[in-house]
Amino acid sequence: MPGMLAPAVRRCSNGEMSRDDYRGAPVGRRIVLGMVGLGAAGVAVGASAQEKVSTALAPIGGLDEVLPGAGGFRFYSVVDEVRRRTPQTYRLTVGGLVRRPRSFTFAELQALPQTRMTRDFQCVTGWRVEDVAWVGVALPDLLDAVGVAAGAGAVRFRSFDGVYTESLTLEQARRRDVLVATGMLGGPVTHDHGGPVRLYVAPMYAYKSLKWLGGIELTRDVVPGYWERRGYDVDAWVGRSNGRNDEPT
């Protein structure tokens, strides 16, 4: 392109540049084309390269706090600010098509049977955190505690960020690897991770694992959640939805 432009410039007689400025190798164009080629190669082999980079950088603690590509969790929130809740001020309300609507304090959740599991956290944008330790109340145990009423076909979750929602079919919600999590990574669920209580839907992409869980409502039908109204699959099985084929978590 610049080569084709040079004659036009020579015609321009304002003397702004010497012809020297147009001699020499087209290094600029080579750099641009080289970068485009490297970029394409990076797209082709980047998936395995990223894995190696993550492995290589893993021993350097704290790097994932600053580098986007260094592995670890990425923190997503759809609102500007979420008011912090402590285990003391926390309430989980469970209502809708249930026999005994009620709310749970943090201590009451911990008094229910506890389920532990160590499973991966897979985001639909491609990043994955392996072997995350989770602890909390398996959702079926919580549903048993309130009693599912006739006619209920789905479970809707609300975040106390005031905006984010998610949903599961009742059948999905009865899986034992769906957790109302009160702890992760060997400690409490921190505020940035969606604490003090968040959802963890092990077999599905991470947008199902709603943060800052504030309310659970049993409904007749599935109501699509926040990202699902923006084009994501409602049934978000890892490796079998959103056009992706990641390994199951």
């Binding site: 610049p2 080569g3 040079a6 036009a8 410039v9 321009c12 007689s13 003397g15 702004e16 540049m17 010497s18 012809r19 020297d20 400025d21 147009y22 001699r23 020499g24 190798a25 087209p26 290094v27 600029g28 164009r29 750099i31 641009v32 080289g34 970068m35 485009v36 490297l38 970029g39 990076g42 797209v43 082709a44 082999v45 980047g46 998936a47 390269a49 990223q50 980079v53 994932d64 706090e65 580098l67 986007p68 590509g69 969790f73 990425r74 923190f75 997503y76 929130s77 759809v78 609102v79 500007d80 600010e81 979420v82 944008t125 491609g126 940035d192 923006r230 056009g243 992706r244 084929n245």
Partner: protein
């Protein structure tokens, strides 16, 4: 003295292309930080808004350059930025590349020095690569998973390189008020031009002012112009 003290370095169009590209680039970097740096993304939140601003500014990034092609002066800049002559290699090789003797840079640099040329080529290449990978990430459906992860990989790591280069570019600029003025109001003083772009100064003054040409002759082959 009849010689003008101020020389026009950049026309309005050239500056507009620079400024719009700069603003879009900075907004892209700022929103990228809000989307990806954990502390910032938890503090700022508003993912959907940040993503929308980032994507629109990203897609707009090549537009100022494309519109700039309407300007003859900008097209001339592209031509000059593309070509690396003997002076450029010399400039890159020498440790004293910025040295000045008798008020004149010892390397007769043209309108752009080799560092500016490398910066321009890197920015142009980056915009294209970011545009390509960004398009894949914005419209992920047609692509296989490995490519999407690869596009994320390229987009993420190139961001860090772009950030480093932009900071370097700003660093050189703020240390040189003459260069800042050139980009701000378009003009430079003759003395600044002699120190930083002696070859360009020679070419600028030659047509109107042939007399001093002989006294500052740089030994480079003369142009074919009368």
């Amino acid at each position: 003295m009849s010689r003008p003290e101020w020389l026009t370095r950049f026309t309005r169009a050239e500056r507009a292309v620079h400024h719009v590209t700069a603003v879009l680039m900075l907004v892209c970097l700022g929103t990228a930080a809000c989307l990806y740096v954990p502390d910032l993304s938890t503090w700022v939140g508003r993912r959907n808004l940040m993503k929308t601003v980032h994507v629109w500014c990203g897609f707009a990034l090549p537009v100022p350059v494309l519109l700039g092609l309407l300007s003859r002066a900008f097209r001339a800049d592209l031509g000059a930025l593309n070509r690396f002559g003997p002076h450029d290699r010399e400039w890159l090789r020498r440790a004293d590349r910025r040295a000045v003797a008798d008020g004149r840079g010892i390397v007769p640099v043209g309108k752009f020095n080799a560092g500016q040329k490398l910066n321009a080529a890197f920015v142009a290449g980056s915009i294209l690569v970011m545009l390509g990978t960004g398009t894949m990430l914005t419209f992920p459906d047609p692509w296989p998973d490995d490519w999407r992860t690869g596009a994320t990989f390229v987009h993420d790591w190139l961001t860090l390189a772009v950030l480093a280069v932009v900071l370097g570019h700003l660093g050189y600029a703020v240390r040189d008020p003459g260069a800042l003025g050139a980009m701000w109001h378009g003009r430079v003083r003759r003395g600044w031009a002699a120190r930083h772009h002696a070859g360009w100064l020679d070419a600028m003054v030659k047509p109107q002012d042939p007399a001093p040409e002989r006294s500052v002759k740089s030994g480079k082959p003369d142009s074919a112009k009368p």
